[in-house]
């Protein structure tokens, strides 16, 4: 078999690609590793969401004891850490592993065995963290950022915390081992004509994401090692330097990770917006520059999590944090400029991408408020923060995730998802998201701290919490509709062609699903929208 346009040099030995379940589990083929990562992380996303549903049931009314406070503490800890370490970060990297080689015209990924090992370490990490639920004393109960000295063996006895620390460490190493090969692939295995500035926006967003993973995750590994020290010698944390030191090390990772959980979905939204507007993405170069600048700047803002500690240079971190609005604004310019000149087609992926635009903005604007110390002194540690990050991560990133999921599902499976159920999923999710998280801004402002197992009737938080919990029920329903869509579409198996959406990037130039080495023939690449160029030139229209 000849591969026209494949990178120079001999092909390696054929990747391990046996058939059946066993074949899947030992595969070093990038699409398989990508699908395994996506599938595992989306299953965990649903499971971690179910934990949140229990919390919202408890918080719907004051003075409730649906679960004991200790169980409630495990719920919010595993919901938060499960979502961040085990669901959203891996799903983003999984999409990258699947799509980037296709988008750049590569037949395989670099370092495939490393990436496969990464997947299995992630799974081991997930098993370790979640097995805390099965041990006496329960799972880790101290929140996803696990401040010392609370997490030392003095204040949190039991194996659940130990299993969590090991699990976070393993899954973080796993993600680094998936991200490194992905970055290397984008830098070294591009097809002829695929210069850096011809890479699609999604690929650029993954490159930048992988850079942040490699730069920030080591700090998490050190932070978890400090946690392990605390399990063995809690007396260390009677000294302030260890406690504030842990917080700095943790948040040095903890801020970039939220951009790791954001940029891939920005890339997905950019692809979907341009495809369903019928034009190439507007403002490509400024977007690439702003992604790089945004990533670099995001490494300098972590102290805004420390504003109330009295042990950080608040003015400096306020400056860097508020400055994030500039590259963010440039990206928004790209979104809006693309759709303003488009002929919009309202398929399910486009609905999610359009909703992303105003919804993420709520999260971003509230982030500016949190980046202002005088404001943060009031709303830090309250439901205002919970609202902020659910708007960025859920109303933003998860909507971007579903845009990408509905968009690329036909490519990966060769069948369609049902459009009607997709729209129902979308509308239920919009309503559920905003009714759940919007009111949290108010109740946080009024004085409700976060991570509280219950609150008093006299607090005045009851009505808003009830509304929020009703929203959560609608959200749960939207997820049921989504899962039903996946199930029934799989059964119906309506076949999808190689390019169902008139896509612009190389993955649409191969079959659905793609063959083992991705391409039989790669089209010429003259810009970041090679298929659009081809269509325009065969139409005889001008190619901008």
């Amino acid at each position: 078999m000849t591969l026209i346009g494949a990178p120079p040099g001999p092909l390696p030995a054929e990747p391990v690609h046996r058939r059946g379940l066993a074949g899947m589990l030992v595969s070093t083929e990038h699409k398989t590793i990508g699908l395994l990562t996506i599938g595992t992380s989306m299953a965990l996303f649903v499971a971690m969401g179910a934990l949140a549903l229990v919390m919202r049931s408890q918080l719907a009314q004051p003075d409730q004891s649906l679960v004991t406070p200790h169980v409630y503490d495990q719920l919010f800890t595993m919901h938060g850490s499960g979502m961040i370490y085990l669901a959203i970060t891996p799903v983003a990297i999984g999409f990258g592993l699947y799509l980037v080689p296709l988008q750049i015209g590569a037949p395989y990924i670099a370092g495939a065995r490393v990436a496969a090992l990464g997947y299995w370490l992630y799974v081991a990490g997930a098993v370790s963290m979640l097995s805390g639920f099965a041990v006496g004393g329960g799972a880790a109960p101290d929140g996803w950022y696990a401040y010392t000295p609370l997490t030392t063996s003095t204040f949190t006895p039991g194996q659940g915390m130990d299993l969590w620390i090991v699990g976070v460490f393993l899954s973080a190493v796993g993600m680094m081992l998936e991200a490194g090969p992905l970055l290397w692939t984008a830098l070294r295995l591009r097809a002829p004509g695929m210069t850096l500035l011809h890479m699609p926006v999604f690929t650029w967003s993954m490159v930048v994401t992988c850079l942040m993973v490699l730069a920030s995750f080591p700090s998490l590994l050190v932070a978890m090692s400090i946690q392990a020290l605390g399990r063995m010698d809690p007396s260390l944390f009677s000294q302030n330097a260890w406690n504030i030191g842990y917080q700095n090390l943790f948040w040095f990772y903890g801020h970039p990770v939220v951009y790791i959980m954001f940029f891939p979905f920005v890339g997905m939204v950019a692809e979907v917006l341009s495809t369903f507007s019928g034009r190439r993405y507007a403002g490509y170069k400024p977007t690439v520059i702003s992604l790089l600048a945004f990533a670099a700047l995001s490494m300098s803002v972590w102290g805004h999590h420390l504003f109330t500690t009295g042990q950080a240079a608040n003015d400096y971190y306020s400056l860097t944090s508020i400055s994030l609005s500039i590259p963010a604004g440039v990206e928004y310019f790209g979104f809006l400029a693309t759709i303003l000149g488009g002929c919009i087609i309202y398929r399910t992926p486009m609905l999610f991408a359009l909703a992303f635009i105003p919804q993420f903005l709520v999260g971003g604007l509230s982030g500016i408020m949190l980046g202002t110390p005088v404001v943060d002194y009031h709303v830090n540690g309250s439901f205002f923060v919970v609202a902020h990050f659910h708007y960025t991560l859920f109303a933003g990133s998860v909507f971007g995730l579903f845009a990408g999921f509905y968009y690329w599902w036909p490519k990966a499976t060769g069948i369609f998802l049902r459009e009607g159920l997709g729209r129902l999923h979308f509308w239920l999710m919009v309503i559920g998201t905003n009714v759940t998280f919007g009111p949290m801004f108010a109740v946080g402002f009024m004085g409700m701290p976060r991570r509280v197992a219950t609150y008093s009737a006299s607090d005045g938080f009851s009505t808003i919490n009830l509304v929020s919990s009703c929203g959560a029920a609608v959200l749960a329903l939207s997820m049921v509709v989504f899962l039903w869509n996946v199930f029934t579409s799989w059964r119906a198996a309506v076949p999808a062609p190689h390019d169902p959406w008139s896509g612009q990037t190389l993955e649409w130039a191969t079959s659905s699903p793609p063959p083992l080495f991705n391409f039989v023939e790669i089209p010429p690449v003259k810009s970041y929208a090679p298929l659009l160029d081809l269509r325009r030139s065969t139409d005889g229209a001008a190619v901008p």
Binding site: D73, D142, Y147, P286, S325, I326, G329, L361, Y377
Partner: protein, 221 residues
């Protein structure tokens, strides 16, 4: 306009918060409205459009736009830093008349009045939340620490909180102008009973405060 060091800014914690937060909310609403309008225009214009635009570079407009965003960001940064400096100036009062050492512990609060001397504490169970009694119109300095894990002392009415670390003291100065009582919470997760680790800030007239302190801080006022 900036407070001289050591002299309390008459604008207390609450109004400084109100000014900055109010400004940011107004800017946020304006930005959100602009984006929603742009979105609406895009969707409506698309109905009448025959062909998608083939233009893909908007360099001049984009540069101007980025410049405008940078300008707003710079304005917000200077506002933020200026407001924070005023907070810091207010906290620098050297010899406030009332000084309370607050110790957060799992899971309640201890208030040790340096000047009184009075100690107030509680168990935070079944309505036994301790009261932090302060005189109105008088600077009160809080020196906050923890006996065990990291906590956070938050009085929403004051729009202010600060963290309680073991082996560390965070200080702030507050002035409560009007009498009243308001809830206080722990705002940093500290274990099983974090949710009920509450106190009440109780501001009374200076005369009532003096007689309360003279009686050893009894709970009846």
């Amino acid at each position: 306009m900036a407070a001289a060091p050591g002299v309390l800014d008459p604008a207390d914690l609450q109004s400084r918060f109100g000014q900055v937060f109010g400004l940011e909310v107004r800017i946020a609403i304006a930005v959100f409205a602009a984006v929603v309008v742009a979105l609406a225009v895009a969707l409506i214009a698309s109905i009448f459009r025959q062909q998608p635009s083939t233009k893909s570079k908007y360099t001049v407009i984009e540069l101007l736009f980025a410049g405008a965003v940078a300008g707003v960001a710079a304005f917000l940064i200077t506002t933020s830093i200026d407001a924070n400096n005023r907070h810091a100036a207010a906290a620098a009062a050297k010899h406030p008349p009332v000084r309370v050492q607050v110790t957060a512990f799992r899971w309640c609060w201890r208030f040790q009045y340096e000047s009184a001397p009075v100690t107030v504490t509680g168990t935070c169970t079944g309505g036994n939340d301790p009261k932090l009694v302060v005189p109105t119109g008088v600077p009160v300095r809080i020196d906050l620490t923890s006996a065990d894990v990291v906590h956070s002392m938050w009085v929403p009415h004051l729009r202010f909180k600060t963290a309680a670390f073991p082996d560390f003291v965070n200080s702030f100065v507050m002035v409560v102008n009007d009498p009243g009582h308001w809830p206080g919470y722990c705002a940093e997760f500290c274990g099983t009973y974090h949710y009920r680790m509450r106190f009440t800030l109780d501001a009374v007239s200076p005369q009532q405060y003096s007689s309360w302190a003279a009686h050893g801080g009894s709970s009846t006022l």
